[in-house]
Symmetry: C2
Subunit: 464 residues, 2 copies
């Protein structure tokens, strides 16, 4: 297939407001035809990576894979998956960028950080071309959610290490919507958000579902009915809440029945946006021509059938600077090829992402890994190293409590206090979120002989 | 003078890295020639505003001014100045945008909020064309500070209501520098900044001088020498510290003699960047062809002579969406036309902005107005309404303490506690910064009969 790669999009193109699709041809393409397009893009993406990325040269060389072997879409199964542990090892060996930049350093436009994933600083380097493609990808998915140039989008997510907020911004800018990048996370900011939403009357909310709930609660405390904001659309990412029926109902009641759309991927694939729903609440569509996603059965490692469950394995199709080809997300989802009333011919994850095959937890939109907490706990001399993480929900906000044990040596009042303060501070610096610390006497936390269940998630995300 | 207005800049233009000036012709223009250019731009800016902005139609109509009267630069003195109180009154009469949008609503690309100034939510609406011109303006001033496309710029300022951070980002993006928009203000973020600076080794720091000092201190607490970050340039805004010799010396020692450049304007003029220094530490140049600035003697209301002191009065020259023409900043500065070794022919404020003619204070980069605090204090029934603001400096961070009096009715332990919590919470929501609260018994704060000195600034910004 003749194909321009990396793809260049016309930055002046914007569809008419009443058009259902940003790109009708791509979004309603018969799946077989799309598969051919995906193969063509994948061949170029893989060749690009193989030529320029030491990461892939090494891995694929060892696995006996060469991009020339990609003839049909089934051949993608020949490519070894990449796990978070693979990325971690590569980063440790090649700090701070890893060995997968795959583009000239002078083409790099943005540098962002990603914490959480591996517990060590991971730098995302994004080329100018990628930044434009990210804008196009987000504009398409946001359009699919019903965002239009006439909207004012209130972006209530931190503009810092969390890439989701930046992706939303660049997509909404690309479309020509009015962007109000407000941020989140600083002291007092939620109450300020109430005032600004009242003043500016934005039509679209972007952020996490739990922050959206918290905003409604804060509004009511201020004597403001959140319906007064006039949100027409709630566009969520960072958390699965937008796909959880009970949460949706609460939000619909609070905000006067806005359209609620869930989106998201996994941190490593961002800032690409490739999963996103439409106004029909059918789940998250997989926008396969931008990022190709397969659900892989974690036991057989075969592609899950329609209606089945598996781990989303993601493949960038148009990323030059840090492409991930067959990234094993560790999430759990089911998928279907049932048609959606929106007319898009993409597969759909009807319940969004609802679980994990490992034990990462998402706390207030941030990925928190037991391995990162372990790193912190084990580095403090006054602690035994044993720990638990308890994730609970206080009203609408997630709370993370880390339980650890002080050592016999540290068992004075001053010693315990010092250890506690250090743990709290180190956790904040590593995780990027506030957590509570509960110190126990040595030996109070039960030890297990095999795999410790270190994470206790007290939130009942699906039954609430 | 034949002139395209509003100006369109070529978005693909970037000078060679070793070129001193972004725009040699404009930056080294003989002052008389520049004055002619300024008059030509001013005529069009004023005509645009008069045609489209009810704000100017009303004000200028009442003052008997018409843009046709602008023939020489001296005629600008015919235009009445705009004070913060004028903007406040206009906002109260025309919430939430005021009556000065002056561009079609469908051209508006960004919506931002500005707190502080008036104590009521003020929305900044920025057109697409303005956004591009803001990028050009910032790129020019950043280039003047020595920032180049090969730099990686660590942006340690909150990406929220503070426009300075967004301006820096759009300018550095326009130039093609690598941007690392990190943010600031969330719990734990300073310690995270230490890790990211170590990992990414950015060459330019952007933020406030006090945050830069705090970052150095935090690094040392973590056992990291801030010199290891390798900052080549510290580019400051939001606070005058970059022009204060003692602060400069401390920063030079901490970071291993980087180039330190001060920039800034006043909140109402942002996101335009029009004051900014160069590597010669001669002060802040006034980039007169973008925003025209005059220092006005606050007693005679005449233009201050070279070497004299006055209030910077700013005039946008290329803003369509919310132009401010002769905005009385209330700041204090001196200016000179002494040549700078950099070769730019702009006037210079050698000591930056060093004072205020009113009593606004800048706390951790945020403008804090006694009127905003007064609004909060007077709205709480359990307080007498009397108050003081004490600004101090604890190590390198500004601290704001608000003293107020509980009423006799609230004088129970529970009552005082409730009032105190409400005051703290309301201050946070209004000011956007954390403050301390110190409640006194009724009558403990001294009353005056004329103008109360409500602000006690214990920081010795210039003698330290």
């Amino acid at each position: 297939m003749a194909l321009e790669w990396p793809p260049l999009y016309d930055p002046s193109y914007v569809p008419p407001e009443d058009q259902e699709y940003w790109d009708p041809a791509l979004e309603t393409m018969p799946p077989q035809e799309r598969d051919a397009l995906i193969v063509a893009k994948l061949q170029r993406q893989a060749a690009w990576a193989y030529e320029r990325s030491p990461f892939y040269q090494k891995r694929w060389g060892e696995a006996g894979f060469h991009p020339d072997q990609l003839r049909t879409l089934d051949d993608i199964q020949r490519i070894p998956v990449i796990t978070k542990e693979d990325l971690r090892q590569d980063l440790l060996a090649n700090p701070p960028f890893g060995s997968n930049i795959a583009d000239d350093w002078q083409n790099i436009l943005r540098v962002h950080g990603s914490s959480g994933t591996t517990g060590i600083p991971t730098i995302i380097a994004i080329s100018k071309g990628d930044w434009e493609r990210i804008g196009e990808a987000h504009a398409r998915v946001e359009w699919g959610a019903g965002v239009r140039p006439s909207d004012t989008v209130f972006m209530a997510a931190p503009f810092s290490l969390y890439m989701g907020a930046w992706g939303m911004l660049v997509g909404a800018e690309r479309m020509g919507a009015k962007c109000f990048p407000f941020g989140a996370g600083a002291p007092g900011q939620t109450r300020m958000a109430v005032r600004w939403c009242l003043a500016a009357k934005p039509s679209v909310f972007y952020g996490t579902p739990s922050f959206c709930l918290y905003l409604a609660e804060t509004a009511r405390e201020e004597g403001v009915d959140p319906k007064e904001f006039g949100f027409r659309t709630l566009f969520f990412s960072g958390e699965p809440g937008g796909s959880i029926p009970a949460t949706r109902r609460t939000l619909e009641e609070a905000y006067g029945n806005p359209v609620i759309v869930d989106s998201g991927s996994t941190g490593e694939m961002s800032p690409w946006m490739s999963n996103g729903g439409c106004r029909h609440a059918s789940g998250m569509h997989l926008w396969q021509d931008m990022v190709f996603t397969q659900l892989i059965d974690p036991t057989t490692l075969e592609v899950a059938p329609w209606g089945g469950e598996g781990v989303p394995v993601y493949t960038h199709l148009e990323r030059t600077s840090q492409p991930l080809i067959r990234f094993w997300s560790g999430d759990l989802a089911s998928w279907t090829d049932d048609p959606c009333p929106c007319g898009r011919t993409y597969p759909t994850m009807p319940r969004g992402i609802y679980g994990r095959v490992d034990d990462m937890v998402v706390v207030r939109g941030e990925n928190v890994y037991p391995s990162a907490v372990e790193n912190v706990v084990r580095a403090i001399p006054g602690l035994t190293g044993e720990f638990r993480m308890v994730v609970s929900r206080e009203r609408t906000m997630d709370e993370l409590t880390v339980l650890a044990e002080y050592t016999p040596e540290a068992a004075t009042e001053a010693g315990i206090d010092a250890v506690k303060r250090q743990l709290q501070s180190d956790l904040g610096a590593t995780l990027g979120i506030r957590s509570n610390v509960d110190l126990k006497a040595p030996g109070q936390l039960e030890r297990t002989q095999f795999k410790a269940r270190r994470v206790i998630d007290e939130r009942d995300l699906h039954g609430e």
